[in-house]
Symmetry: C2
Subunit: 201 residues, 2 copies
């Protein structure tokens, strides 16, 4: 299995974390984005969107970190990571959409502007981030995981940018329940931090 | 089954369309968003995000239109709408994420600014929209549906805002393959347009 990725990207870390939690060995291939590799014809053949992460497993090629989590959990993970019962699957989808929308437009955008100097409206990104963090904090006031009684891809999808909110100078101590949920994820067997060098196994 | 919704919202239409395609009768409850109902305590109990659509089916309560499509397809739809094999499920997730991110930040944002006078940067929204439409157009150059050999929730998730691109003064004739894909969806049994009054069955 090959993961085309950028080490500092928390979208790519989302996949590295899932691989590590599932004990899957994959080759990490660092993409030279500063050298323009994302725009190259070879990379566009791999992913027409010109984005990382991309996972290649035999003849299966997937873009989008949420989609890759779904694939890894469904093909290689214990059933608790992605239960298939209709209401459970839909409830988990709520958080995959949240990771693709509210988290991308909030914590991710704020981190990109503050840490990497990307273009964007920081006030809007911070306002979106605080709304997203407050919604998550309320969600886990009285539960261990976002959905069901066990960790699912929903938790792993939401963890990376939320855990890095300090990169955008957001103080996570304002969100105490969220802080406890982050620590629960960090205690899972196979957990790796964003900075971990690769392959973990 | 009850759908809390706003008729003009294409996010809500996404759910109405799926209900109609599956032949499911549901009560449509129009939310008085101009009267502040989304901010009311009663509505926040239903959905802490303060957003429509919300689907209530017995004791199951779901927000997020993509999640509701997953629920309806998995519980009430033929298997082709949401195949559960790992690679198929992940490939479909790619487009659910696309609907939650690229479509929301592109065609949806542009439509909101132009049609409803919402705040936002129209140039960025239009640029995002054109990128999203071009990626979709390329995707369906040589295929009937976004994934698999049959329509799936991926197609239904992407259809609403794309089909309404003209509301943001985007000319869909620039995207001929996409135009043919839209027409294929419009020929499905049970298809209803955004304007259709409710319950369809």
């Amino acid at each position: 299995m090959k993961l085309y990725q950028i080490q500092a990207s928390a979208n790519c870390y989302r996949v590295r974390l899932m691989l590590s939690l599932l004990g899957i060995r994959a080759e990490w291939i660092e993409v030279d984005h500063k050298g323009g590799e994302l725009e190259s014809t070879a990379f566009r053949t791999l992913n027409p969107f010109g984005e990382v992460p991309v996972l290649v497993d035999g003849d299966i090629r997937l873009r989008d970190s949420q989609a890759i989590l779904v694939y890894l959990a469904r093909r290689h993970g214990a059933a608790h990571w992605l239960p298939l019962e209709a209401a459970d699957l839909a409830r988990i989808q709520q958080w995959l959409s949240f990771a693709a929308n509210e988290i991308q437009n909030g914590p991710r955008m704020a981190r990109g502007i503050v840490l990497f100097g990307r273009a964007g409206d920081l006030a809007t990104a911070l306002s979106n981030a605080r709304r997203a963090l407050a919604l998550l904090d309320t969600r886990v006031v009285d539960r261990e995981w976002l959905e069901t009684e066990a960790p699912t891809v929903a938790d792993i999808a939401c963890y990376p940018y939320v855990s890095r909110a300090a990169d955008a100078e957001i103080d996570l101590s304002d969100y105490p329940s969220l802080g406890r949920w982050l620590k629960r994820i960090e205690r899972l067997e196979g957990f790796i931090p964003l900075e971990a060098g690769g392959p973990a196994h």
